[in-house]
């Protein structure tokens, strides 16, 4: 909601000491869940998300099967203990919406045409939430897909920008998310230079929107580096194990 009740910036810096275009620390680990086909764990600011990939596997219910391509089903969930007031374990309307747009955001990256009649399921559960959970979950998801060895055009980094005290800033923290003037989560396909997820609420002039979108893409590129680093780390680890054998 567009409110300006709380002070969020001091001397050009944000209250947590960050500059407007500075991201919170981010760390991704590829290959976190042994029994999943692919998985990833992300810590980003105060967010912790675990994501598992199962598939390609037979798609049920049958009517959701496509003769042309795999179905990409991403399911986002907030664990009950991840937020201040316990979250109801049943999927909320918010969960359903995020799941839908995130599934669509990932679909363009995957060569779905290689696996007709199947489903590729990605389950991402937020175990600790501190604003920006959907972009954290989505950023973990494409690493998990890559970890599962699913052919992809590119990874799908995601990052949010917003507006606080009339300034466009990168990667909102919890207070900025609640008290700020706008929020713009974005997912980006670097290979195509295209936006695959974009939601926004608040109040932005068209010029601010453009600025916020550009800054979000810059943020996505930072996430992209971490995603690649995580996958490289995972691969090196396996290489080492093979050598030991």
């Amino acid at each position: 909601m567009a409110k300006k009740t709380k002070k969020l910036m001091k001397k050009g810096k944000r209250l947590d000491g960050r500059k407007p275009d500075e991201m919170r620390p981010i760390k991704i680990k590829a290959g976190y869940v042994k029994r999943a086909d692919g998985s990833a764990y992300i810590e980003w600011g105060g967010n912790k998300v675990v994501a598992s990939v199962h598939g390609p596997r037979t798609c049920y219910p049958r009517h959701e099967r496509s003769p042309y391509k795999a179905r990409i089903q991403f399911k986002y969930k907030l664990a009950p203990f991840s937020v201040d007031d316990r979250a109801n374990p049943a999927p909320s309307r918010r969960d359903k919406e995020i799941s839908k747009v995130s599934s669509e955001a990932l679909e363009k990256a995957v060569f779905t045409e290689y696996y007709p009649k199947t489903t590729i399921d990605i389950y991402a559960t937020v175990i600790e939430a501190a604003a920006g959970t959907r972009v954290a979950a989505l950023s973990a998801a494409s690493v998990a897909l890559a970890d599962a060895g699913i052919p992809m055009r590119d990874l799908v980094p995601a990052c949010a920008t917003g507006k606080i005290e009339d300034t466009v800033v990168l990667d909102l923290n919890k207070d900025e998310d609640q008290e700020g003037q706008a929020d713009l989560p974005v997912a980006y396909l670097p290979h195509n230079d295209e936006i695959t997820l974009m939601q926004m609420d608040g109040d932005l002039t068209p010029e601010e929107y453009e600025e916020a979108l550009d800054l979000a893409v810059d943020g996505c590129m930072k996430v992209y580096e971490e995603q690649k680093r995580a996958l490289r780390e995972r691969y090196e680890h396996i290489e080492q194990e093979t050598e030991e054998e």
Partner: protein, 264 residues
């Protein structure tokens, strides 16, 4: 599913072929919306209502007021709840059952646009701080789906809220046929939805265009000509330049619709 998909694929070829020649199947220009007709106060039992036709897409929205408890973090504010039912009445593509991704997304996009524009003065809907407030339900029911349910629903919801009245409330009871005044509102948010088909983009997609789309962008514009909500949908993607252009287009097109709603 598979036979349906085949049919839509054939249609998509045609939609795209025409678009490449700069034509739409119904003869509109790419950035031209269908005609909007609004019938305010269409329903008798709802406190506010409107029936909207956007081309052949027909949507009815009803606002109902009830007594509720406020959220703990805003003890003196009323609550606004928007929902939509995509019923098989409107289209064979819709199924019965609990709301799924598409339905929930539509409802939440419309809800965000109305909420973020601060259209309803929720601060004036308090009856007893921390205890009792008015809850405003806006329920949207598409009756004929010929494409772009979101924009039609957005108009219907706003128009319904604009003519909603607050019932009298005496001795802990709502008196449904007597009113204490109008529901207090300020802004008139307007949604503009674009569909990207191949590399072509059109405003206000009709059903064939909508089913052919690779991606969708809904932009909500408030009275200040600023963006108060937006949402990308569909498995395709947008270039940044396209997003910026479409936002300017939405800013340009919103006032006409706003005027039409405000003149009711």
């Amino acid at each position: 599913m598979s036979t349906d998909e085949l049919i839509w694929d054939v249609k998509k070829d045609r939609v795209l072929r025409e678009l490449k020649k700069g034509k739409r199947l119904d003869g509109r220009k790419k950035m031209e919306s269908r005609k909007v007709e609004i019938t305010p106060g269409f329903l008798g039992r709802a406190e506010g209502s409107a029936m909207v036709k956007l081309g052949n897409t027909r949507v009815v929205a009803g606002a109902k007021l009830g007594i509720g408890t406020p959220y703990p973090d805003s003890p003196e504010d009323g609550v606004l709840i928007t929902s939509i039912e995509l019923s098989p009445v409107a289209s064979p593509m819709f199924e019965t059952g609990p709301p799924r991704g598409k339905t929930v997304e539509a409802a939440r996009v419309i809800d965000r646009g109305i909420r973020e524009s601060n259209m309803v003065k929720t601060e004036e809907l308090c009856i007893e701080p921390g205890e009792k407030i008015w809850t405003v339900f806006v329920d949207i029911f598409p009756m004929d789906h010929d494409g772009n349910i979101i924009d039609a629903s957005a108009i219907a919801a706003v128009a319904a809220l604009k003519n909603a009245k607050i019932p009298k409330y005496e001795d802990e009871k709502i008196i449904r046929d007597e009113f204490q005044g109008k529901l207090p509102t300020r802004d008139t948010p307007v949604a503009k939805t674009f569909a990207k088909i191949g590399d072509e983009i059109v405003l206000d997609p009709e059903i064939y265009e909508e089913k052919s789309k690779d991606a969708r962008l809904t932009v909500y514009i408030n009275d200040k000509d600023n963006v108060c909500a937006s949402q990308k949908g569909g498995s395709g993607a947008f270039k940044r330049e396209e997003v910026n252009k479409l936002i300017k287009e939405a800013v340009k097109k919103a006032p006409e619709t706003r005027k039409q709603i405000e003149e009711l």
